[in-house]
Symmetry: C2
Subunit: 499 residues, 2 copies
Amino acid sequence: MCLILREDFGGLSNRKEEKIMANDKKLVEAITSMEEDFAQWYTDVVKKAELCDYSSVKGCMIIKPAGYAIWEQIQQQLDAAFKKTGVENVYMPMFIPESLLEKEKDHVEGFAPEVAWVTHGGLEPLQERLCVRPTSETLFCDFYRNEVQSYRDLPKVYNQWCSVVRWEKTTRPFLRSREFLWQEGHTVHATAEEAEERTIQMLNVYADFVRDVLAIPVVKGQKTDKEKFAGAEATYTIEALMHDGKALQSGTSHNFGDGFAKAFDIQFTDKDNTLKYCHQTSWGLSTRIIGAVIMVHGDDSGLKLPPKVAPTQIMVVPIQQKKEGVLDKAFELKSRLWDKGFRVKVDDSDKSPGWKFSECEMRGVPFRIEIGPKDIENNKCVFVRRDTREKIEVGLDEVETKAAELLETIQSDMYEAAKKHLETHISDAVTWDAFCDTINNKPGFVRAMWCGDRACEDKIKDELTATSRCMPFEQEQLSENYVCCGKPAKKMVYWGRAY
Amino acid sequence: MCLILREDFGGLSNRKEEKIMANDKKLVEAITSMEEDFAQWYTDVVKKAELCDYSSVKGCMIIKPAGYAIWEQIQQQLDAAFKKTGVENVYMPMFIPESLLEKEKDHVEGFAPEVAWVTHGGLEPLQERLCVRPTSETLFCDFYRNEVQSYRDLPKVYNQWCSVVRWEKTTRPFLRSREFLWQEGHTVHATAEEAEERTIQMLNVYADFVRDVLAIPVVKGQKTDKEKFAGAEATYTIEALMHDGKALQSGTSHNFGDGFAKAFDIQFTDKDNTLKYCHQTSWGLSTRIIGAVIMVHGDDSGLKLPPKVAPTQIMVVPIQQKKEGVLDKAFELKSRLWDKGFRVKVDDSDKSPGWKFSECEMRGVPFRIEIGPKDIENNKCVFVRRDTREKIEVGLDEVETKAAELLETIQSDMYEAAKKHLETHISDAVTWDAFCDTINNKPGFVRAMWCGDRACEDKIKDELTATSRCMPFEQEQLSENYVCCGKPAKKMVYWGRAY
């Protein structure tokens, strides 16, 4: 896959080209094959595609321009999808007073062990310590308590884009870090039905976004009590499958019922003139999803970005760019494509074409356009797909239409490939032996019945390091009894090892 | 101005209308006149226009949907202006280890007294305490130290949108709070000239944005040493004048020379193969600017938003909306305007028209369209400008073109009004007595010569609570000697009281 790097580098001689060649070499050497060591491959891609870097602050990452540009695309498109459903954005303080965090019992139990505490402001100790928000349910509740008086004030459907902090012990770029970026939606409703409806609606917004924009198929379902959010009545999740067969929880939506409302005393006067507790939801999706994009689509040449989320969708690479007319033509193509709304760049650096090709591949640009003197003579150029490496000759007068078509094709082919991978990595198990064997030897999801007991879930986690990923909305009765304890089967569960 | 609120409320009888009327009343009563008490007027507008609210976290504000939507407009448009100049966005950790903050002497002296300290992560004390970023020069320097090796790695022009924390003792919504949102750009260059050029370029981006989008004229200039940023070689500023004649620093751009590079050891190999220190800049604009929009344009009826930054540019208010065809026509107008790219809404709530009008005014919607049964009969509607209250009859078939024209007119009229206010609030003083008298009795900027001594600046601050706002780029020699000490005049300075 990386053979392209061994292409002729031509008459490169000065110091820069030497540096570039050294970098090229490093690039090739440094990428671990994904089949050999998937975790190392992941780290290499993150580093080589310049998505993020470690910082001097232990466990916190620096999101570099190439990584942040992906997040900007995600933000823009997801935010637009939110707004279509009536979401309004706000901004809450990043600090939570300890007494506020403690108001909901399950919630504080879940989060207190992993928050960062501010104890001093300026030169003086604080009267009450503040935690840096790990999530903002408590702040929103405190706000809604004052904001909501009557049924006419409901619903409120607010969201914020911000960073949160969880003092994790082991961290990995995008997947788990002490600070990460996300959005957190927090809503408050008059009825339980409306809250449940919003919870599911937002889960579907996530699932549709992840499918249509990120080209990642997911399994939708409900978390077991063991795996649900601290303080939630029900947690729904979208679960994606990475290339190595491990699951990644990719977005969650929680229905709190009136639990938080009772803890925070959020009451409203209903139409019947009686005081009632509100019903609430929250839902979040984080920079973690960039990890999913990398691990679902990437290969041994680096990143593969679905066109809809790629910050650069097309890279024009001039060949023999010093020859008269080549750069002009490259920039002309760029302008034409730019005017049609494509995110397109020209790589007119003095790197070799081979280097440019491999850089496009490493960074996941969906396709590149190669154009040199001979192409211009023949009034054509060459599109090279990142996903299949297919080369397509395109007449210079049909570049815009062919580009639009190709981006659509790549988007849908990438989704189909990911879907096929998901479908071929779902197994069913109806006996304990088969279950253990599949978890241990066949990467992917294992579908098996569950009795509903926490003890069995714990046993599976302890013995097999696998967890219940979700109880899918589409249930099937695979067997009469639970594979673990033999008790009657209550639910079909997707099990798997997970990030 | 608020007479409209005393309009007939018609047949309103149910509980909601009573509540609305009570609110209306409260609305009128609660708005302090700006001439009577400008500070209280400001607080009232912030609260009544629902821009932000106080939180349980002392000194931190909650930015509500109407306020955050303004910030989103600012972000989008300023970010686009940045990107045109080659800026790339990144994200740095929110924590700074104490040892890193201490690396640049002036910088830590300036910021250490007002930072929040994290001392515990989860249940354990940290080995080194971390401050929550008050600004991120130190983190960017630490990053650039590893990132920049050769002149080929330069320049780097990075920016981040984030929140920062400064442990202020007294706070006011948007103007001064313990946490606020901003963008901070941090760049690194090979030469001093290039750094200076970027510093001025970004100041001009701010000035142009504030003028063209926010309709606020500014004075551009350099800060004196006393007023410059902690650690900067030179700080440039845009200073705006509020309605009450006080100045508001609205955006700053700093040239650090190689001071931070030396403190953080950021060196690169230049073309001549020698090691050199980099030159750096930073520049920031914050949610404070929303305070400027309020205080430059607002009046006793509330907010006045320039069309380019108004989240809702046009509100369609149906009159007698229960009559057949009225709501349909209102929504038809909305769709037509929406399709042309205007940010338009229909207020189809069951509030009275009078209430809707005053709400549009309070929230600063640039103009509203009134449409009732008689208008429809006559194939017309009425545009009512927020800035002048002028009513304009518009034929229903020319709504789109007239709306575009009117928004442009409002934008430019608002700028002209603000410019006139600025120009009529600049006075010159050439004697100490005249200087004191003007500062004390005539709100606005006072232009006067300065000897360049810190002692004189201190005296002016102590005796007159006025500060040097900037040394404008366009200098004039108003007098031979400095108004304060009589020493030779070195610079013309804009002085004033400030937020």
